[in-house]
Amino acid sequence: MQTIPIERINMNDRRFCISYPLQDDALLSSIRMEGVIQPLLILDKQPHTIVSGFKRIEAAKELGFTDIPCFVMDMDYKKAMQASIHSNLGRVLNIIEKAYCVDKLFTMDFSEEEISGVMSMISLGFYEKIIKRMRALANAENFVKDFVLQKNMTMQNVEKLLGFADHEIKDITEMLNRIHTTESMMREILQMLSIMKLKYGNIDFSAIKGMNNIYDLKRSLKYSINPILSGLEEDLSEIKNKCALPPSIDIKVDPFFEKEYIDIRIRANGPEEVKGALLKINSILDAGYIRSIFGLTTY
């Protein structure tokens, strides 16, 4: 092990880097307190190329360190790549780091058997679809990677997101960065945006860009791709408003307006309340509101 001046290490050469992001607050605090305990692995050439320790050197530099402990090794690029991956396997890799592993192995012409072995170690199946997704993610812009990590996106949603054009991804990530979403909401939104794009050839972001609420966003997208269904929902809501139903009575219609029947629910605490509810139902029946509701489901 040697102590090497940081300026003699090429920090821009990231061909063996699989860490993302390089900024790590916990590591920064630890190095501030204890210094760099675990030496870097660097190649014996000038300037030195880092094999592992990208986060450590980033933190050390930020803390104003001028030199850093290193193991200087002489090895070929393939061995160095393998060393980089294996030195990181002791921790849980995030999805971007896994994507980097896959992409770099392909870029460095590892055999299918070698790649398949590494993919299995990082819990990825060696399938064309997965490889394609991972390589696309590895080569995506940093704001996309940050978004994927911040939202803790599943591979399925990542694939949907990367299916959009670059300028659309920018708009989508900007829009969704402002909104709290669950994984299933994200899936729904991305699916609706895909349908909108497929149907109309583009996504009209001007109508949805300013939305800060997931429900408004969903409603707006739904109106755009399901205008008939949204219209029926509005009609139903209008009729129900006119009915002025008390909380003890509810009229339920099939959400897709498929079923011919409707459900009328009464909650009552005794015969008098039942009588009152029936009187109310009779009055909305006489006013033609029930018929109007049936008109939304039966033709």
């Binding site: 149907k199 008939i228 897709f256 498929e258 033709y299």
Partner: protein
Amino acid sequence: MGLQPIEFVETKGDIVRNCPGTKHHICCGYKTIDLVEGCILSCSYCILKEYINTPNIKINSDIPYILSQISEAIDAEKTHILRFGTGELSDSLAIDRRYRLNQPLVEFFGETKKAILELKSKWAQIDHLTPFLNPYIVISFSLAPQRIIDKEEKRTSPLYKRLKALRKAQESGCFVGLHLDPVIIYDGFEKDYEYLIGDIGRIIDLKRVLWVSLGLLRFPPKLFNRFLDENRKNLLYGEFVRGEDGKYRYVKKERVRIYGMLYNLLKEQEKDLFIYLCMERKDIWRSVTGMTPEDNEALMGLFDSRIKTLYGGIL
């Protein structure tokens, strides 16, 4: 064509089955014969891709066993005139010229004279069968505007060939069936269907059409994502909801409008056409056709009447 491996099998068990139909919708009581499993045609909307988990085409080569199963089904039915088809798990004609699979079935139905065999296809090659055709065989084609055939029904015959084959079948003494199924909503589809139905009326003798089915596009949820991945604009252009059977269908208001339009266009061509809706709800039947078959049994009754009207006493 013919890139998929062909496998000859002798499957025992239920080769002749009731068409599975779909829950909460009215179905016609069709009997399916699993003569071939898998298809060499490549329709983008085909649900077989979800159900059959192998690229192989399986041909059931035990014809005596299949015929015995058909016989049993005919003998067991006391009420209705049975309608059989081989187009459930495959296209009835796509590989038939090469393998001559239908000929023994065609001859069997001609000799038995108790039931109908429908050969349903998008592959317009029937010359090899015409010497054997008889009144108990119905040659049917699925028909769609050429624009849809070009985009979504790869490797199938063009529309004009399908219509010519139907005409040829009629000239050979057969009744024919027309299946406007799946009807797909896309930009300008109304006009295309108007022209299509006009062409049908010009080329085919509509008095000798045994039945016409109408079925709007419907598919299981898995296919939705596939259509999206494959950018199938035509297939996802309309507005879909999940039906009671879990399948995606166009929103009911649209279904009623489109069925009504097609029904009226067809009736304008020939008022006596027997038109049925494939796997649809009671209320849609009522508003489109004015008929209200209460259940599958009632629809089978309508088929019986239609067959009796066209066949007289011979069935």
